[in-house]
C-alpha cells in the first residue's frame, strides 16, 4: 500500500497547496496548511510501515508542531482581527512596496 498511500498523500498535499492558493481567509488558509501537514503525516506513516517505526515517531512530533503553530497562529490571527475586524488577507495591505 506504499505507493497508493504516497499518491494519496501527494494529492492531499496538493489540495492543501491549492487551498492556500485560492483562499483569502487566514483561518482557512491555516487549515489548508494543516491539511498539508497531514498529507505529510500520511507519507510518514506509509513509509514507517516498510522502513520502521521511526516514521511514526515523526508524526508525533509533527502533531506537536502543529499544536504549537495552532496556538501561536490563532493568537496572531486574533491579534490581527482586533485591528481589522477581518481575517481576510485581502485587507492585509499595510505593508507593501512603495
Amino acid at each position: 500500500m506504499l505507493n497508493p498511500a504516497l499518491s494519496v498523500s501527494a494529492v492531499l498535499f496538493t489540495l492543501g497547496v491549492a487551498g492556500v492558493l485560492f483562499r483569502r481567509n487566514a483561518i482557512i488558509i491555516f487549515m489548508c496548511v494543516e491539511l498539508m501537514l497531514n498529507a505529510v503525516n500520511l507519507t510518514f506513516v506509509a513509509l514507517a510501515q516498510v522502513i520502521g517505526v521511526g516514521g511514526q515517531v515523526f508524526v508525533l512530533f509533527v502533531m506537536a508542531v502543529a499544536a504549537a503553530e495552532a496556538a501561536v497562529g490563532l493568537a496572531i490571527i486574533l491579534a490581527v482581527y482586533r485591528h481589522k475586524q477581518s481575517v481576510s488577507l485581502q485587507n492585509m495591505n499595510l505593508l507593501k512596496d512603495g
Binding site: L37, G54, F58, A79, V80, D97
Partner: protein, 500 residues
C-alpha cells in the same frame, strides 16, 4: 574531547549550551512571572538575558576549547567546531539585539519582558538547528525558532503593521514548513533515515540518486529558501521586516538567516554530498536571489525595506558560498555571516535611533545632513553601508572575498562574476545613504536632534563598527576559526561532489 552520544553524560555534555540556555530561559520565565510591571523589571530581564547568552557562550567556548567532537556518526546532534562557531554568532546576534532592544522597548512602550523569553527561545531554536544532525531535530529547532520569531514580529501588536507582519510571516512560514516537512519525509523514504550522516552514507551507496531523494532535496531547499529569503521565496521578507519592531527585524535578518544557512550547510554537505542535483538548483537560486534582491532594493526609499531587500541580496551571496559545496564555502559562510551580522545589526541600530513607531517611515532622505549633527552615528552607518557593499577595509569585504575564493576554487567563476556585478548594483542603494548623510544639508534646522542612541545601543553599534573595521584589516583570527569550523563539516562518504 570525544563524545559518545549513546551515554547520557556525553549527550548532556553535547547539549550543554542548549541546556544552559534553556535553564536561563526558565529562570527568566520565573522572574517574569513575578516581576513584569515596571521598566525596571524589563531592564533586569534584559540583564538576565545577557547573562544567559554570555554564560551559554562561555559553555560553548569551553566545549570548543576542549575540541569536543562526536565519535563516529553523530546521532541526533553533532558536536563540531562549526556548531560552536555558529552558536557564537547566534548568541552574539541575540546579545546585540538585546542591547538595541532595551531603549526600543521603553520608547515604544512595549513593557513585556516576555520579549526576552521569546528571544532566548528563538536563539535556542537556532542553536538546535545548527546542532541537529537529524532532520527531525533540525525541523523542531526551526519550528522553535519560527514560533518565537512569529510572536516577536507581532510583538508590538497594538500597531496594525506589526500584527500584519506577524500574520504574513506566520502563514507563509507555516506553508513553507509544510514543504520542508514533505522534503524530510521524502528524504526519509528515499534513504530510510533522517540522520544526516546516514543519509549521506545511504545516498553514497545508491549510485544515481532516486527521484524521491531529489524531489525531497528540492523541497528541503524550498523550506530553507524561505527562511533565508531567497528569491522567489523572499516576498514575505520586505513586508515582515518592515512591520516588525526594528530590533526583531535585526534579529530576523541575522540570526534566523544564519541558522537556516547553518542547517542547510550541514544537510547539503554531510547528507547530500553525493547528490549533485543541488548545485544546479542552488546555482539558479543564488543567481535570481542576487539579481532580484539587488534590483528590488534599488527602488526603495524606505530605509527599512531597502535593508530588507539588501538582506535578500546577501542571502544570494551566501547561497553562492553554499553552491560551492566545499569546506571553503562553509568557512566563507561563517566569515561572511559574522560580518553580515555585525553590519546589519549596526545599521538597524542606527535606524532605530533615528526613527519612531517602527521606523517604517524613515526614508533615505530623512537621513539628510545626519553627519553634521550626529557625526558618530553617521560614521557608524557609513561603515555599515560600506561593509554591506563589500568595501575593502571592512569585514564585509573580507567575507565577500572569501565567498569569491570559495566559488572560484569550486570552478564557479560565472557565479563569482555575477556576484560582483550585482554588488555593483548594490552600490546604487547603499551609497545614497552615505550621500544623504554627508552630502546633503539638514532639511530643517535641528532635524536630527533627537536621533540618539542610549548607552546600550551605543555599545552595540560601537562594538559592531569596531569589529567590522578590525576584521576588515586583520581577519586572521576569524579565518582560523572559520577554517577549522568549515572543515569540521565533512561529507560522510569519501565521494566528493562533482562541481557545476
Amino acid at each position: 574531547m570525544s563524545l559518545d552520544l549513546s551515554s547520557y553524560r556525553d549527550l548532556m555534555l553535547a547539549l550543554l549550551p542548549e541546556l544552559v540556555l534553556t535553564g536561563w530561559a526558565l529562570v527568566l520565565i520565573l522572574f517574569v512571572a513575578w516581576r513584569h510591571k515596571t521598566i525596571n523589571d524589563l531592564r533586569i530581564a534584559g540583564w538576565i538575558t545577557l547573562a544567559g547568552l554570555a554564560s551559554t557562550a562561555g559553555v560553548t567556548w569551553w566545549l570548543w576549547w576542549h575540541r569536543t567532537a562526536v565519535a563516529g556518526i553523530a546521532g541526533m546532534v553533532a558536536a563540531d567546531d562549526f556548531r560552536w562557531v555558529i552558536d557564537w554568532i547566534f548568541l552574539g546576534a541575540a546579545a546585540l539585539t538585546v542591547l538595541i532592544s532595551v531603549a526600543y522597548l521603553e520608547r515604544e512602550q512595549l513593557l513585556a519582558p516576555e520579549y526576552y523569553i521569546l528571544l532566548l527561545f528563538g536563539t535556542l531554536g537556532m542553536m538546535v538547528m545548527a546542532a541537529g544532525s537529524d532532520l527531525m531535530v533540525i525541523f523542531l529547532g526551526l519550528e522553535l525558532m519560527s514560533v518565537s520569531v512569529y510572536v516577536l514580529a507581532g510583538f508590538d501588536r497594538r500597531r496594525a503593521r506589526s500584527a500584519e507582519a506577524a500574520l504574513k510571516y506566520f502563514l507563509l512560514g507555516a506553508f513553507a514548513s509544510g514543504f520542508l516537512l514533505y522534503g524530510i519525509a521524502l528524504t526519509y523514504g528515499a534513504t530510510g533515515t533522517t540522520n544526516i550522516g546516514l543519509i549521506g552514507a545511504q545516498a553514497g551507496l545508491m549510485g544515481p540518486p532516486s527521484v524521491m531523494l531529489v524531489v525531497g532535496l528540492a523541497l528541503l531547499l524550498v523550506g530553507f529558501g524561505f527562511k533565508v529569503a531567497a528569491v522567489p521565496f523572499h516576498m514575505w521578507a520586505p513586508d515582515v521586516y518592515d512591520g516588525a519592531p526594528t530590533p526583531v527585524t535585526a534579529f530576523m535578518a541575522t540570526g534566523v538567516k544564519a541558522a537556516a544557512f547553518a542547517a542547510l550547510f550541514r544537510i547539503l554537505i554531510q547528507g547530500f554530498a553525493s547528490v549533485p542535483a543541488w548545485h544546479d538548483m542552488l546555482w539558479w537560486l543564488a543567481v535570481v536571489t542576487m539579481v532580484g534582491g539587488n534590483l528590488f532594493a534599488l527602488a526603495q526609499r524606505s530605509l527599512k525595506r531597502m535593508l530588507a531587500y539588501s538582506s535578500v541580496a546577501h542571502a544570494g551571496y551566501l547561497l553562492v558560498a553554499v553552491t560551492s559545496g566545499t569546506s571553503a564555502g562553509t568557512s566563507a559562510f561563517l566569515v561572511y555571516v559574522v560580518a553580515y551580522t555585525l553590519m546589519t545589526v549596526g545599521a538597524f541600530a542606527v535606524l532605530s535611533a533615528k526613527g519612531r513607531g517602527g521606523e517604517s517611515d524613515v526614508t533615505i532622505d530623512d537621513l539628510a545632513g545626519l553627519a553634521s549633527r550626529r557625526p558618530w552615528l553617521a560614521f557608524a552607518l557609513a561603515v555599515c553601508m560600506l561593509s554591506l557593499l563589500g568595501f575593502p577595509g571592512t569585514a564585509g569585504f573580507i567575507g565577500k572575498w572569501y565567498i569569491i575564493i570559495a566559488a572560484t576554487s569550486a570552478g564557479q567563476n560565472v557565479l563569482a562574476a555575477i556576484l560582483v556585478l550585482t554588488s555593483v548594483v548594490s552600490a546604487g542603494y547603499y551609497l545614497p545613504v552615505i550621500m544623504a548623510m554627508y552630502m546633503k544639508p539638514e532639511p530643517i534646522e535641528a532635524a536630527h536632534v533627537d536621533a540618539v542612541l542610549d548607552r546600550w545601543g551605543r555599545a552595540a553599534v560601537a562594538f559592531a563598527v569596531v569589529a567590522l573595521l578590525l576584521f576588515g584589516v586583520w581577519p586572521n583570527r576569524l579565518f582560523d576559526l572559520a577554517r577549522s569550523a568549515g572543515e569540521s563539516v565533512r561529507p560522510t562518504m569519501s565521494t566528493t561532489p562533482s562541481g557545476q
